[in-house]
């Protein structure tokens, strides 16, 4: 009786273990298949960009060889891009525009959020509710009147037209505000007693304690701004101030299409943001996650 029981238990344990192994294998199988789905277009782009022979790229597109680096490999397509277009200029423009928007945004958005979260003054509640309601206005609604305005002051085709309107961002202010309001009140009380003025409190106490939210806002703003397309499409005319997304779209829409060159261009646009993501991936995930937590 007992031995039978033990045998049943043993076989149960075995089947449990067996089932667990199977479920882990199935999980991995599923994870890998999905990973292939997310990876194949990106791999395809990189592989095609180093195939020097244009007809081979076209021939390979209908089979698995699209993902295999073979034949005549090299950086010819990359050199071709540099020959045809001032790629460095576009890259500089994008880095400069996004960099200055994000950096200046960090300062201005955190300053107003600090005032709203930590200082007592008349009008605080009103300003706060106005800013929160501004979050829902999509850029798309204001682009046309904004175009009228910047056209009148002669800002078309410039850096400032792509930077200045987007520095202060209601959602960034809200993220800062939420973080600052959670810091213990005793911190700035103590500093006040020591005779620190509000600016010193902000700079010496709040900012050093708030690195996570600065990282979050910087990363989210980088993600949104780096891919900006509609506004730069409207306000840039020549190469001088054109950022990468508009530049590659225009390169792509030229006929006849030389796919090797297009994929080389696309790879060069993708590599920097992919590297930044891989370096700071933990922060990327955290930032995106905290964008979803609503107060």
């Amino acid at each position: 009786m007992t031995s039978v029981d033990a045998a049943v238990k043993d076989s149960q344990r075995f089947s449990f273990k067996f089932r667990k192994n199977i479920s882990i294998t199935l999980s991995y199988l599923l994870l890998i298949v999905i990973a292939l789905f997310f990876l194949f277009p990106i791999v395809f782009m990189f592989v095609s960009s180093i195939k020097n022979n244009e007809t081979q790229i076209i021939r390979d597109m209908s089979s698995i060889s699209a993902f295999i680096p073979y034949g005549e490999l090299g950086l010819k397509n990359y050199f071709d891009v540099f020959k045809q277009m001032p790629f460095g200029r576009f890259m500089f423009n994008s880095v400069f525009i996004v960099g200055s928007t994000v950096l200046m945004g960090l300062v201005l958005n955190s300053m107003i959020a600090y005032a709203l979260a930590r200082l007592r003054f008349k009008g605080r509640g009103l300003i706060l509710s106005v800013i929160i309601s501004l979050i829902i206005i999509p850029t798309e609604v204001v682009v046309i009147p904004l175009l009228l305005m910047v056209n009148r002051i002669g800002w078309l085709d410039s850096y400032q037209v792509q930077i200045v309107p987007f520095i202060v961002d209601a959602f960034s202010i809200f993220l800062f505000y939420q973080f600052f309001i959670g810091l213990p009140k005793s911190l700035d009380e103590a500093a006040k007693i020591d005779g620190a003025n509000p600016f010193q409190v902000y700079w010496k106490i709040i900012v050093p304690l708030s690195k996570p939210v600065f990282a979050t806002v910087a990363i989210l703003q980088f993600l949104f701004r780096w891919g900006d397309f509609l506004w730069p499409l409207m306000v840039t005319r020549g190469y001088e101030y054109r950022p990468l997304p508009v530049a590659i779209q225009q390169f792509f829409s030229q006929d006849p299409k030389v796919w090797g060159d297009i994929f080389a261009f696309a790879s060069m646009v993708t590599i920097p943001s992919l590297i930044i993501f891989l370096l700071f991936q933990k922060w990327f995930m955290r930032s995106v996650a905290s964008s979803g937590i609503k107060g």
Partner: protein
């Protein structure tokens, strides 16, 4: 001596009061100096153009004003013209169809992926990274790659479909086919965006206390029951947030379409923002385009209000 000390006491009290009020004054001054610059930016680059959008949607304003044709107030004529225009109705319909298909699908897939990558397995971080990587790939680049994959005839996607269906299906003319162009754009949009919502769901999943699952197990609930009885209800707020933000993103559809089809074939992928861009920027009919912008805003507003109502309900329950 005593009176003197009392005197000094009241003096110091008065001084204190003075100090406090001067401190308060200084704080107010500081607060306004912190707010002044950001507020003027918001006023100049968001509030002003927002008001102008409403104002000029009631006029026949053009981008480059013609001195012979002064801008006039034309009441609701822009809106009447919009609703009578076939291309506006098509853009509105396409945008709605896109949202109605993409939002539930993308939300569901994001939850599914989040559950998958929430398992305690080795290399799970690698999979999270891979699933998220399209999010950091610029949408213009994504559209260009998929344009090539959708190549009619011998394109990779046609070949895959033909392979899976043993040659019975395809080849399709994806981006040149009026009934396939929008679905083709839907697929790449989900491919690019779903990682973002996956991460939000992942945070939601990790926020569910373990005790709930333990209690569920004690009550004899299997994994499936636990998912429906514990996970889904606990993710209610996350789901509302994901649905609303994906809906608003879906209504903004522009970049993919502009790169791949420019709204074609025959308007099959024309969206509200495509129309706004064409009317305002290409045709220079700024008043008319602002009318589209105003309607677009009203849609976004309605969607956000729905979110408010649902979240309020939640608070009322608690």
């Amino acid at each position: 001596m005593i009176s003197e000390s009392a005197n000094s006491n009241t003096k110091s009290l008065e001084k204190n009061k003075k100090n406090r009020s001067s401190f308060q004054r200084r704080e107010t001054l500081a607060a306004w100096s912190f707010c002044a610059l950001p507020l003027s930016f918001l006023l100049l680059f968001l509030i002003t153009p927002f008001i102008i959008a409403f104002v000029i949607s009631f006029t026949n304003q053009r981008l480059i004003t013609n001195p012979n044709l002064p801008t006039q107030f034309i009441a609701l004529r822009n809106f009447v013209r919009l609703f009578n225009s076939a291309s506006f109705r098509q853009a509105l319909l396409n945008t709605f169809v896109f949202a109605v298909v993409v939002v539930p699908l993308q939300t569901f897939l994001a939850l599914l992926l989040a559950v998958l990558v929430n398992q305690k397995l080795r290399f799970i971080n690698l999979f999270r990274t891979i699933y998220f990587s399209p999010v950091v790939t610029t949408m213009v680049v994504v559209s260009i790659i998929w344009y090539f994959l959708y190549n009619p005839g011998e394109g990779l996607i046609n070949q895959m479909i033909s392979f899976i269906s043993f040659g019975k299906l395809g080849p399709y003319n994806w981006l040149n086919d009026t009934s396939l162009a929008l679905p083709a754009i839907m697929i790449l949009s989900i491919w690019q965006g779903v990682g973002f919502q996956m991460v939000i769901y992942l945070a939601g999943l990790q926020g569910i206390p373990d005790e709930l699952y333990e209690a569920g197990r004690v009550d004899g609930a299997n994994a499936w029951q636990q998912f429906w009885q514990i996970t889904i209800p606990q993710l209610r707020n996350t789901t509302i947030f994901v649905i609303i933000s994906t809906t608003i993103l879906a209504f903004k559809l522009f970049t993919q379409v502009w790169v791949m089809t420019k709204g074609g074939p025959q308007g099959a992928t024309k969206t509200l923002i495509i129309l706004l861009y064409e009317e305002g920027f290409k045709m220079l009919r700024v008043g008319y385009a602002s009318g589209i912008g105003v309607l677009f805003f009203l849609i976004v507003l309605a969607v956000s209000l729905i979110q408010r109502i649902y979240l309020k309900e939640e608070r009322a329950v608690i």
